[in-house]
Symmetry: C2
DNA sequence: CGCCTCATCTTGACAATGGACAGATGTGGC
DNA sequence: GCCACATCTGTCCATTGTCAAGATGAGGCG
């Protein structure tokens, strides 16, 4: 009756939980996030088609766990970039944006799946915690850079920065590269976008 | 063998093409864009599940036609907003953003489906034409407002504005309202975001 | 060591889906 | 009046996600 969430030891398969999550990454990269199939993931992991049930419950559970891992890595990418940047507010904010867009670029299918709400379990506490954690660095750096701004005004800056960075990453990973980049290189477009966002977000005055 | 009451139209069905597209809109609104089912759409339209083939080919064709219609309406929403706004560059750009976000708000499921590249036929000429047409108003108004800016710099402004407006609309329609709005009203958040984008996009200097 | 509990995994079944096909049925051209 | 053809129906098939029942092996306890 008691369902143990954490499998303690490796069982028949070495680590099926990890193997299945890796299989999701593979499948999402090959055929797109919405085309991920439970049976295909099981095939990739070399197990029967219902072997995922003890670990993730159902397909939604598997994708939710995958998305949770994505949000954790998205937050970590920002933290890593910020750790090696100067402690200036603008440098920290720039690093956060670079980490965000960098993660979306390095893991386009993973990134897209993280925002397919219909495929995920929105009530999962781990997912929500990871999601909050992923957008905390941006909020923290912005709040540190604008200490005297009131709460509502600060929230507006946050929405602006979040929208622009997320919008760029989304458009890029969604197949609209031809629109975004034009004749320029992808990196230059990203850098220009981040710079503009940082300037607008840290602008003085209400 | 359920007896179906056929509407007395010219043909078997009055206008099945339109009925199916409306069914897609209904289904997408109820269960999300990725949960749209060909058979369910056919049921809503009161026809057999293979009746869509002559009109749209397959499911992807149906969704592609639906997305195409969405891009056309997205462009029209911006044009309509711009037509009633002053001819100032900033007013035109603001109106364009309002039209964009307004469409995404009024048709959240439609808007989301338009950017599910994996569900659409990216080679469809009508889709691509409508997509270009939808983002033309923003480019036109920005280009008119910055006549002396060089091409690459102008492109960067375009990317910034497009990213921020699209990012806001995406986050809002993707179920991240709790993050975006905070204690504020949704309209205030949108207006503040648009205002910041217009200010940043029309800023003088490279 | 022997056994026993239980999580893990397999097999088989089921309903639902998308696509393909042959055939019925109405529409418009001749 | 008659025929070519687009439209629509019913049926079949492979695939999918989920469930139920059974096999398998790990680790605890005597």
């Amino acid at each position: 009756m008691t369902v143990r969430q954490k499998p303690r030891g490796r069982f028949h398969h070495g680590d099926l939980r990890r193997a299945l999550l890796d299989a999701v990454a593979e499948a999402a990269l090959e055929h797109g996030p919405e085309a991920v199939t439970l049976r295909d993931c099981a095939r990739r992991a070399g197990v029967a088609h219902s072997a995922a049930a003890p670990h993730f419950g159902d397909k939604r559970g598997l994708l939710t766990a995958f998305a949770t891992e994505g949000f954790e890595r998205l937050g970590a990418a920002q933290e890593a970039a910020m750790a090696t940047a100067p402690r200036t507010a603008s440098a920290q904010l720039t690093a956060s944006g670079r980490g965000y867009i960098g993660f979306a670029r390095a893991n386009p299918a993973h990134f897209r799946l993280m925002f397919r709400e219909a495929l995920l379990d929105g009530t999962d506490p781990a997912l929500n915690a990871a999601r909050e954690g992923a957008w905390a660095p941006l909020e923290r750096s912005l709040r540190a850079g604008l200490p005297r701004l009131g709460e509502p005004a600060l929230h507006q800056r946050l929405v602006l920065a979040w929208s622009a960075v997320h919008g760029f990453a989304t458009l890029e990973s969604e197949g609209a590269q031809h629109i975004l980049h034009g004749a320029e290189s992808a990196d230059a477009a990203a850098e220009a976008c981040i710079a503009a966002v940082v300037r607008a977000a840290l602008r003085r005055g209400d």
